[in-house]
Symmetry: C2
Subunit: 348 residues, 2 copies
DNA sequence: TAATTCTGGTAAAGCATTTTACCCCGCCGC
DNA sequence: GCGGCGGGGTAAAATGCTTTACCAGAATTA
């Protein structure tokens, strides 16, 4: 029993047509087929509970109908909400268009052996979405000027011509600046991302400083400290910030994790986050809403970034795309919660 | 250029042997081949930078060297840390054994069409890991008594004979009971998981109650309220718990999210979590450590659960496993942070 | 009525492997 | 000197589908 799976051949026999016809129906390459025939074929499929083999389908035209999600080697990358949200969005967009996704981690050995190329060459996947790209990932240059289907998710590179989709970080920076300025803050600190590593993060910081300048508030170098996007480094950065500028009334962190680190730092010197010093984050990770006080932040819809990235990559793959690798920007919004207050209204 | 990828045929021509020979060498099915020939073939491969096509390889022997990670349809499942950690563990174990993983969401339509079966039948994957299984997932019965390679991750079913790997929930329940009892608590509340839905969660609750009983502390039904494992439902459950038993000095929640909901509930009635009422969680999600006060909890190593699950499934697939579907239990540990205090030492 | 164009469909050649016979040849034992 | 055997290979079928011709017959045109 179950000797061999039911194949297109069985469907053909059952419905009394040729293999070709079945295949055409299957591929919705229907135009040439009459309604009656199509119907018969579909019924036969239903009756035999036929499901085409992905493997066999891919062979002739060298398409796997699969995308790879590639992440850098970090401690349990898939457990990170940031990647998780991106992946959720990617998954949904992929399924919508009939694609599957596989997960890959770019370990050192993986890079050395150029496995990402093998992936494309052995027809395992039709395209690659790279998450968490930083300036460290020099191997991306191999894709510069290539028409290979690789897309950088939520970062970009000025030195190379690669496809990418990013959040509107400059807008986020301006949003943050306006918000804090509107609240009357003038002594503002900023915890930025690691220097020279992530373009988007630098755009955020640049736009923040510039807009603040336009509003008549100058941020000196002393009011900016960098962190590695982690809670611990956010805490350390905030410690430094407070030591340098005891009169700060507001802090803007380049991501929520560092903002939560700032909470810890403030408590360490007996200041109440939100009440004594306003804290504004960026990203809107789930933990932000759970913090005490709930963290106000700039919401980046990472699920949407993932989905948009995936759609664009598929456009490239399916040739629905003009050859220029234009970059797309996903809009951001301000989420007011309890961690920012106007200067006058602040406690004490 | 690059008209057609270099195939096994090119290697055969280059090294002057037959397709078969190349294939045999490729598959380390070497016994019959002389060293000299093997060497020649390997050199040809190297020279031509040949990489076999995964697609084509899978066709004849119906093996994909791929595993599917299947999750129920939840809002952005992959963004959930719980699933994320499991997936990280799964990924690592899979890579170690030369397997890839694909992601799948079991939507309603997916179930109706039995796509999980298709997955196995069309040779897309060699096995399935199902995360987030509850009693609602009746379709799992199709795998009962089957030798199909499906494994339930971190839950199990008494009514069906399925492979599974779970955390040691009974041990967790005992750990929690002993800890709170040791701290001198006698008025204890418990927020359990949804009733009749998740076996492991019930084991946790049962063991908790039983051990508490052994320590002379009886938990009445009034001291137990269920939640849906979410922050909001944890808050609601805790509200109810406090309304019923104003004198509670400790609360044990079946997961960290609900414990954090309890924090919110307590604050709502002006009680300080940790100080006025001890709160103990379960899981040890990253947010637990960030909460204020940091949440004491039972650590379940989900990354390890994922890895162990994957290894077991691969054993089954590769026939390294005795036919009995024995269940495996991953040990748990208590993580003391700031949210539990002894009764005497409590504030007020 | 003959020539042309559709319409609906089919045969067959791939696609890149694995795997199952089967084959040739030299050597051994008798 | 011959049957048997084993080492080292190979030819060819099979895997399940796509796609490119190509082909009847009907409808339309000239």
């Amino acid at each position: 029993m179950g000797k061999t799976r039911t194949s297109i051949r069985d469907v053909a026999r059952e419905s009394g047509v040729s293999l070709t016809t079945v295949s055409l129906v299957l591929n919705k390459n229907d135009a040439r087929i009459s309604d009656a025939t199509r119907q018969r074929v579909l019924e036969a499929m239903e009756k035999l509970a036929y499901t085409p083999s992905r493997l066999a389908r891919g062979l002739p035209n060298r398409r796997a109908n699969t995308l790879a999600v590639l992440v850098p080697q970090l401690q349990h990358a898939f457990a990170d909400v940031y990647f998780g949200e991106l992946i959720s969005g990617i998954y949904e967009a992929a399924v919508d268009r009939g694609y599957r996704i596989i997960l890959e981690v770019a370990r050192r050995e993986y890079i050395r052996r150029k496995e990402y190329m093998t992936l494309l060459e052995d027809c395992s996947v039709d395209g690659i979405l790279f998450l968490g790209a930083t300036e460290e990932h020099r191997w991306l240059s191999e894709f510069d000027g290539t028409d290979k289907p690789l897309l950088i998710v939520n970062n970009h590179f000025s030195q190379w011509n690669l496809h990418s989709v990013v959040c509107d970080y400059p807008a986020a920076g301006r949003l943050a600046a306006d918000y804090l300025a509107d609240l009357g803050h003038t002594h503002i600190g900023h915890i930025c991302g690691p220097r020279g590593m992530v373009r988007t993060s630098e755009e955020l910081t640049d736009a923040f400083i510039e807009r603040l300048g336009e509003r008549g508030i100058r941020l000196s170098e002393r009011q900016i400290v960098d962190g590695q996007f982690l809670v611990e480094t956010g805490k350390i950065a905030c410690d430094e910030l407070l030591a340098r500028n005891p009169k700060l009334t507001a802090i803007f962190a380049a991501n929520d994790k560092m903002a939560l680190g700032a909470y810890q730092s403030l408590r360490g010197v007996s200041k109440a986050p939100g009440a004594d010093v306003s804290v504004l984050g960026c990203d809107d990770i789930p933990t932000a809403a759970l913090a005490d006080p709930p963290l106000s932040t700039i919401r980046m819809n990472f699920v949407e970034v993932g989905a948009a990235s995936c759609r664009r990559l598929l456009d490239v793959i399916e040739g629905k795309e003009s050859p220029e690798k234009m970059n797309q920007r996903i809009p951001v919004t301000l989420v007011e919660r309890g961690s920012c207050h106007s200067v006058e209204g602040a406690r004490r």
